[in-house]
């Protein structure tokens, strides 16, 4: 039937156009420096944290998986912060209202920065929500993880341990 053939053609074309990115890519480039204001009011600069292993997490309050992931990131912070590790949460919303309310309620122990102008999101080419970037002690961006599904926090833990040991 003609209808069938049209469906087949359309779907083939579109599938081929949608060759997507892999979930995690190993790269070794210097993480781009930035300065953002934290929930605590102070300015935090990435370069000043060199020497620590850093997990940057781009999130938004309207993103379900981001909210789901947050408590696990807090666990990571509590477990590894004395070994030279910190989580940096970067909220990507233009209006920080809902994000601040979410953080106030959750009371995370890591710094939460606000990228209201979305400049850092552009610099880091954020193309999924959430997006997690792992930075080693020398300031190199070692891993980019896109999205969050239950069980990802276990993978984070393994990678963090490796980066801490380096």
């Amino acid at each position: 039937m003609r209808f069938y053939k049209i469906i087949q053609l359309v779907s083939l074309v579109i599938v081929l156009c949608s060759a997507g990115k892999v979930a995690a890519t190993e790269t070794k480039s210097l993480a781009i420096d930035f300065t953002l204001k934290a929930a605590s009011g102070e300015n935090i600069r990435l370069e000043e944290m060199r020497g620590d292993v850093i997990l940057i997490n781009f999130w938004a309050s309207w993103c379900g998986p981001c909210r789901q992931e947050m408590p696990y990131l807090d666990d990571l912070q509590k477990d590894f912060s004395n070994l030279g590790f910190t989580v940096l949460g970067i909220n990507v919303e233009q209006d920080s209202g809902s994000a601040k309310a979410f953080i106030d309620e959750l009371k995370v122990s890591f710094p939460v920065l606000f990228d209201n102008k979305q400049l850092v999101s552009q610099l880091y080419k954020v193309d999924s929500m959430p997006m997690t970037v792992m930075i080693d002690r020398n300031g190199f961006s070692r891993l980019v993880h896109r999205g969050y599904v239950e069980g990802d926090e276990v993978a984070y833990r393994t990678i963090i341990k490796e980066l801490i040991r380096e």
Partner: protein
């Protein structure tokens, strides 16, 4: 990734069975990118629905329960009942008022893999003279940075039709639907989608209680009735475009247009326009209008010249030339619960719609005015009120 694509294309070319192709395309989707689509939200809805108008009173409950089973699978169940009390013009013209109950159950399952959502559903509907079964399979795939969504689906249904008061009457009807849709996010405030659906039926396609009328000099009022005769196949195509645009104060305006045509000669277009506004964090108000206009089926006539004048004859007002206009509003109040509680949110909603039907060539045989020749009674029109009251819970 490219190797998988090449292999799949080779198989597509070699195979002739479209069903296998469909499955292959699905496999292709499953092999693609890792930015995640999500399963539909867990929820339970309980609704009371009511339709009052044109001599018909239909109400009843509808319940939906949806729950994720694991991170890839979500299941849903819907139970729906229509309690019908009918004294409509079709019924009163050639029969007497009746009461009946229709009950429908559906079970569905969603499977998520990366950016692809597969949905499978089965459904059955039962009333004392109509039993319908159907299943549907739909694939939805997000791509291009999750800005585009392609949907494809198929449904098959089979119906068993009997007739009250006639033990030997037993007919079948079968139906198949094919649908394709593409949804695109154009800007951070605009989403547009295009859908096409082709439906093919075959079997006994008319309502066994409906009759056509023909001029009959021997009858007291100048005409007599006989059971409608419809073609035993029907193929229709519908195409719709809809868009939703965000307004910066937490509101949105939406519109849709649909055209339809089928092998029975029916052509129609449907337009709708709506406005939704959220305020005070918990309230949502929605107002909408809809207009539907249809050109009759080729074999429709309000009055035929004689019995068995043509091969196919219909007088069901659904086949006539008519239009309807709906005006409606919805009010919703949302309760949000604490992040740590088991339930996430709940809403209470009320929707009221008023529909006005105007028939251009269906006459009201029950109209009390005297002195009219058969076939020249005033045109029929009626209005109906539809109420939907429902409570939703997300968990």
């Amino acid at each position: 990734m490219l190797k998988a694509l090449r292999e799949a294309v080779v198989v597509v070319i070699r195979t002739k069975k479209s069903g296998v192709v469909f499955g292959l395309i699905t496999t292709l989707f499953l092999a693609s990118s890792a930015m995640a689509t999500v399963l539909p939200k867990d929820r339970t809805d309980v609704m009371y629905h009511s339709y009052q108008g044109g001599g018909m009173s239909i109400d009843g409950p509808s319940i939906l329960i949806r729950k994720k089973i694991n991170k890839k699978i979500s299941a849903s169940f819907n139970h729906y009942v229509d309690m019908v009390s009918s004294a409509s013009i079709d019924v009163l013209a050639s029969a007497s008022a009746y009461k009946e109950e229709r009950s429908e159950q559906s079970v569905g399952m969603n499977y998520l893999q990366d950016n692809t959502l597969l949905s499978l559903g089965v459904s059955q509907s039962n009333e004392n003279d109509y039993a319908a079964k159907s299943f549907n399979f739909d694939v939805s795939h997000e791509f291009f940075g999750n800005l585009s969504t392609l949907t494809m689906g198929i449904s098959r249904g089979s119906d068993d039709i009997t007739k009250n008061g006639n033990d030997i009457f037993s007919k079948q009807a079968n139906r198949i639907n094919y649908r394709v849709g593409l949804s695109q996010i154009f800007t951070k405030n605009l989403q547009v989608s295009f859908n096409v659906e082709a439906i093919s039926d075959e079997g006994y396609l008319n309502n066994p209680y409906r009759s056509y009328r023909y001029l009959d000099g021997n009858a007291a009022n100048g005409y007599s009735y006989a059971t409608e005769i419809y073609p035993n196949t029907r193929t229709s195509t519908a195409g719709a475009l809809r868009g939703r645009y965000y307004l910066p104060y937490n509101a949105a305006v939406y519109a849709s247009a649909r055209i339809f045509s089928d092998t029975w000669g029916i052509k129609s277009h449907t337009y709708s326009l709506g406005y939704s506004h959220s305020f005070s964090d918990n309230f949502l108000l929605d107002v909408h209008v809809r207009r539907y206009a249809q050109d009759q089926a080729d074999f429709y006539q309000d009055m035929f010249d004689r019995k068995d004048q043509f091969n196919f004859m219909a007088r069901d007002k659904e086949m006539s030339t008519f239009n309807n206009v709906t005006v409606g509003f919805k009010a919703r109040y949302l309760f949000k619960f604490a992040r740590t509680s088991w339930a996430k949110a709940s809403s209470v909603n009320l929707s009221v719609d008023h529909i006005q039907f105007n028939y251009d060539n269906f006459h009201n045989v029950l109209s009390p005015e005297l002195g009219q020749s058969p076939g020249n009674e005033p045109l029929y029109g009626f209005s109906a009120n539809v109420i939907r009251f429902y409570v939703s819970l997300w968990y």
